[in-house]
């Protein structure tokens, strides 16, 4: 594996569930890379398939088709102990920390457990490692280590879950809504912990959440998911400043802002996502898209790179009108709003000491 090679490379991943109501197309042909030391954020709403995507990368359960290359090995081809060994460097943190911690165990044993599962060192070495990672996540091995999950706050329990994930020195951690059950001040502490671990341990994250601002905060690149497909992937700043997909624009406009004077944008998109049992033909967003045309129903838009590292799957992407023609497109109007926000922000900084 060369340094430039992606750590995780997912190609044409498809995950379908067969139910009495028909086939649920949860993930339909998703491809992306996570490079070493990078955080890729995946943002999507309920039912977009983002959690299914996380689980199928882990092979739990296995995807219907597609390839998941992790450190040069395709996980979909591995079975039994070989899969287990390959997954040692691929860990996961879930939304509900209490759901992933056995209530009868004390914290120290919970953190030691993955080390036992992988027979990592003798008993004394495992104990030392457990104490080490507890300290790393900001818990005191002597006091917190003896507690049971019910004696912990939500933030502390999530720290234990993170300690378990880093105990085996993984290369990549998949985080599925890891802070959404926490209050804002605790959430900020845990987000800062993720950042510190990333720099100290050289970790990569696949960071999945519904909150766009949160995903942008922690990610180098952001992928936007809608109804089982990625619609836009790009550097976080570019996706936020110059979104190319109408769905990304709608998501951005729906986020309530605490910026003073930030204008509230009128309802961005109407309706609700269609059922993943009967996804629309062509572009899956077309039924709610203000720009949809006949082409969108007939043909699925391919992923195209419109700026360096910024790709979009849309027949009519929101590119800026050339020159100062002042064409009033949805993109132009929204661009003006966000620049107004920026101006107000800088005034506020001057005013507040």
């Amino acid at each position: 594996m060369t340094p430039n090679e992606p750590l995780l490379s997912v190609r044409d991943l498809v995950h379908e569930f067969h139910t009495s109501g028909g086939v649920v197309h949860a993930v339909s042909g998703v491809s992306f890379d996570v490079r070493p030391g990078e955080t890729l954020g995946i943002v999507g709403e309920t039912g977009s398939g983002k959690s299914t995507l996380a689980r199928s990368v882990l092979q739990a359960p296995r995807p219907t088709s597609g390839a998941v290359m992790f450190r040069g090995t395709d996980l979909t081809t591995l079975r039994g102990t070989r899969l287990l060994q390959a997954r040692r460097h691929l860990q996961m943190v879930f939304q509900d920390p209490f759901g992933s911690l056995d209530p009868k165990w004390v914290v120290r044993d919970l953190v030691e457990e993955p080390l036992i599962a992988y027979r990592a060192g003798g008993r004394a070495a495992r104990r030392r490692r457990a104490d080490e990672v507890l300290e790393l996540v900001g818990l005191d091995p002597a006091s917190h280590g003896r507690r049971r999950p019910r004696e912990l706050s939500g933030g502390q329990a999530q720290r234990v879950a993170i300690a378990r994930a880093v105990a085996l020195s993984p290369a990549l951690i998949i985080c599925d809504e890891p802070v959404s059950s926490l209050d804002v001040l605790i959430q900020a502490q845990v987000l800062n912990l993720f950042e510190r671990l990333r720099t100290e341990l050289g970790l990569s994250y696949l960071f999945i959440a519904h909150d766009l601002a949160l995903v942008k905060q922690v990610s180098d690149r952001v992928a936007v998911m809608y109804l089982g497909k990625l619609c836009e992937v790009g550097p976080g700043e570019a996706v936020y400043r110059e979104p190319l997909h109408p769905y990304t624009r709608a998501l951005l406009d729906s986020v309530p802002s605490t910026e003073p004077g930030a204008a509230r944008t009128a309802a961005t998109i109407s309706g609700e996502p269609p059922s993943p049992v009967h996804p629309p033909s062509g572009c899956r967003f077309r039924t709610r898209c203000p720009r949809a045309a006949e082409l969108c129903a007939a043909q699925e838009p391919p992923m195209r790179e419109l700026a360096t590292g910024h790709t979009v799957a849309c027949h009519f992407p929101l590119v800026k009108p050339a020159g100062a023609a002042g064409q009033v497109s949805p993109a132009g109007a929204a661009g003006q709003v966000s620049s107004a926000r920026t101006t107000l922000r800088s005034e506020e900084i001057k005013e507040t000491p």
Binding site: L185, Q217, V218, E237, S254, V255, P256, T258, E351
Partner: protein, 325 residues
Amino acid sequence: MTEVLLEVSDLKVTFAGRGRPVRAVDGVSFCVYPGQTLAIVGESGSGKTVSCRAVMGLLPPAAVVTGSAAFAGTQLIGLTDDQLRAHRGANVAMVFQDPTRSLNPTMRIGSQIAEAVRAHRPVSKAQARERAVELLRLVHIPLPERRCTEYPHQLSGGMRQRVMIAIALACRPRLLIADEATTALDVTTQAQIMELLLELQAELGMALMLISHDLGLAASYADDVIVMYAGRIVEQAPAQRLFSRVRMPYTQALLEAIPRLERPAHAPLPVIGGRPPDLSALPAGCSFAPRCRHAADDCRAAEPPLAEHEPGHRWACWHPVGGKT
């Protein structure tokens, strides 16, 4: 503004369980005016929900409620269950976070709305049914006649919340309390529901109270914002003012800790340590002092009163952000 619709003064709620009593709400006072949108924000356990449930008379018998809550001149604290039932629905209605748990899964949507209508108005079944369709149309549910015959599980989360709003509006309340009503919804659905609420508010002239942990929601949709911490109001101001000239260090800490789109990636979020205090053993002085960057000896000695230091802007702090006025 016109006359006060709801005036809450010195509201206190204590839960007497085993061990020491828990003071969940500690001397809360505020007013709601007709047509106003008031947001109450705070973290879990700050007392925002308990305050509103006390006003609605929805707390369990173990809760001891004192103080006053006058709705258009009628004192609500101390009313009997029957008197409260007459007051709820007609005057005040509430929408909760989880529509799935508030709806009866075995009853058709139309019947559930009709039931709410008939609980408060002496109308025939047919009239109630008609009103149900009308209400579903009011909350922009497509094909309301057909939806009436469906069950809750056949609707999406956003649609179910619209049904809850329709039920809440059944008797044209003068005040609607939305308790984390959009928290479980996606941002695009949240935007739709919030617009619906504001539109209905303007159309029906209701007052709206938004109970939320989300400062962004308060900033975007409320006229006035109350910030609660450990059972007390610590700051209150018009939304525009609060977010441009925050004075209470706790509000500032909350604002800084929210990831926002304008921030560069990977920049550490300013955080404060510690946790909210144990409500059964509050520290002396300001309850935020142990976590506060500006805390001095006087903060630990005496509790700062909530006072209107600037026109329309109340805060409870000895050393406000930006200095004293």
